[in-house]
């Protein structure tokens, strides 16, 4: 296995792109990443594209071939494939790209993630997203994806006594950071009252406890670490890329308040990168719902079980705090174009580690961790990145 580095990164603004299609978004992010790496499309040897559900959102499958084609690569005939792992499709694509370069099969690989979600009405989007859960035994009976998140939150509040006010601090922090990110879907600060008084989606989750429906794409270019400096002065090493799964439905699990897949992927990632939680300078944690971020922070070793809200209360999670959390704005404020999200988290960490994050720059950032989950924390994928 060879060490792998990121030599270029790029993404579109996240939001409602009425003027841009699936292919427009993917190509925009891909070309930005190539430009950043200082290479040409014909240098690419393979493409791995994260995408959850273009087949349902816009009726387009065969997304890998489409991306390669409209990036101008049809005549190079390189392999291009779509990788799917629900909301973790982006990180899954990066895991696949990492394996491809680490194994030695390819040298220069483009990893992308894209989702075009706003071409459909809201109830259809809700239905498609529910496909990340068990369609026959959860969704058939009326469970939406937020309903499943809400049942995790309710059980957590029952077991640990966390209040809705405490949970509301997480979207407040996300929006504070989103307001500093010109590419974020939402760039407006909110208060705890905004969260508590916004429309109820699935009790106790209001719409402000849930990430939005966004369009967007993100991409990175990978190369063997030993030749990364040929392309850039600031390559970022992928020190760990780990992936764990568990039961797809919540009802099959022993506990709703911990994620065994996050615990497993986290343990393996720390071991692979030879790091501990205290070595991490910033995190991008999956916050599709506030409760997922809370469980994620705990299960990755940043807080004791039942106490993640204390980090928020103590102000540690702001970009200038002790544990800079989702400086991009996270899924909540930066946005959640599901297939793009996992790659976008890594693009943010690359910007931070290169000291290019503008107003939300984390001081002295050397090591970052990205946590992307699929479904109700069914799949957990961790990437640890560091300056080299």
């Amino acid at each position: 296995m060879r060490d792998v580095a990121i030599i270029g990164a790029g993404e579109t603004k996240y939001g409602e792109h009425w003027d841009k299609s699936l292919r427009d978004l993917a190509v925009e992010a891909g070309l930005k990443a190539l430009e950043d790496a200082g290479i040409y499309a014909e240098d690419i040897q393979a493409i791995f594209g994260g995408n959850m559900s273009a087949g349902s959102f816009v009726g387009q499958d065969h997304v890998g071939a489409l991306m390669a084609d409209f990036a101008g690569l049809a005549e190079t005939m390189i392999p291009a494939m779509r990788i799917e792992s629900a909301c973790a499709s982006g990180a899954a694509a990066l895991h696949a790209g990492y394996m491809a370069v680490a194994s030695g099969l390819y040298d220069i690989v483009l990893v992308g993630g894209v989702e075009k979600m706003t071409d459909l009405p809201g109830d259809m989007v809700t239905d498609i997203l529910a496909g990340a859960a068990d369609r026959e035994w959860e969704v058939f009976f009326g469970a939406t994806f937020p309903a499943l998140g809400a049942m995790m939150a309710r059980r957590y509040m029952y077991e640990f006594g966390m209040t809705r006010e405490q949970m509301a601090l997480f979207p407040v922090i996300a929006h504070k950071h989103g307001a500093l990110n010109p590419d974020a879907h939402f760039q407006r600060e909110i208060t705890v009252d905004t969260v508590l008084n916004s429309a109820m989606v699935a009790d106790p989750l209001t719409i402000m406890n849930c990430s939005p429906v966004s369009d967007g794409a993100a991409a990175v270019v990978l190369a063997p670490a030993e030749i990364a400096r040929k392309y850039t002065d600031s390559p970022i090493k992928i020190s760990a890329s780990t992936f764990a799964n568990e039961y797809i439905s919540l009802h099959s699990r022993e506990s709703l308040v911990r994620s065994v897949s996050t615990i497993e992927a986290g343990k393996k990632a720390y071991k692979m990168a030879k790091k501990e939680p205290k070595d991490i300078d910033l995190v991008e944690i999956h916050d599709a719902f506030s409760i997922i971020a809370i469980i994620g922070l705990e299960d990755l070793g940043f807080a004791k079980k039942g106490e993640a809200h204390k980090l928020a209360e103590e102000g540690q999670l702001y970009y200038d705090g002790d544990l800079p959390y989702n400086p991009s704005g996270g899924l909540k404020a930066k946005g959640h174009p599901v297939g793009a999200t996992g790659v976008g988290q890594v693009v943010e960490i690359v910007k931070q580690l290169r000291n290019e994050a503008g107003k939300r720059q984390v001081e002295d950032a050397k090591v970052g961790l990205a946590h992307n989950v699929g479904g109700t924390m069914t799949s957990s994928i961790i990437h640890i990145l560091e300056v080299m």
């Binding site: 809700t126 009326g142 809400a150 029952y158 699935a202 989750l205 439905s249």
Partner: protein, 138 residues
Amino acid sequence: MVVPRFWRERRHRYSLIGTRCPVCGTVYFPPRNVCPKCGRKSLGKMEEFQLSGKGKIYSYTIVHQNVLGYKYQKPYIMAIIETPEGPKITAQIVDIEPEEVHIGMPVRAVFRRITEDGKAGIIQYGYKFVPDWEELEK
């Protein structure tokens, strides 16, 4: 959707029939062909097992934003129910006001209409849960 998709699950959804692993004794619902604890040792040996339909609410939510086919039911109560046989089940709680639901509440399964596939499609049936008044009054 065509009829077989719903027809093939009718016994499980109408009568709460799951499976039991004869090697370790664990009961599963929905049914599984392989026991996650015993793997290949359980292959071809999983037995049908009917749940009693009794249970307690493990967690719940009130759904205000529905998936397709549930528009006329909202707001509705979704819950995860723990059964005395072991498995937990995701289902709606009906015949009670949302404010009265709580974790630990005894409930029992009933046979109900779940949803329908548009105006012309088939009507789908299965289980929902109602408060178990006998247990509640004990």
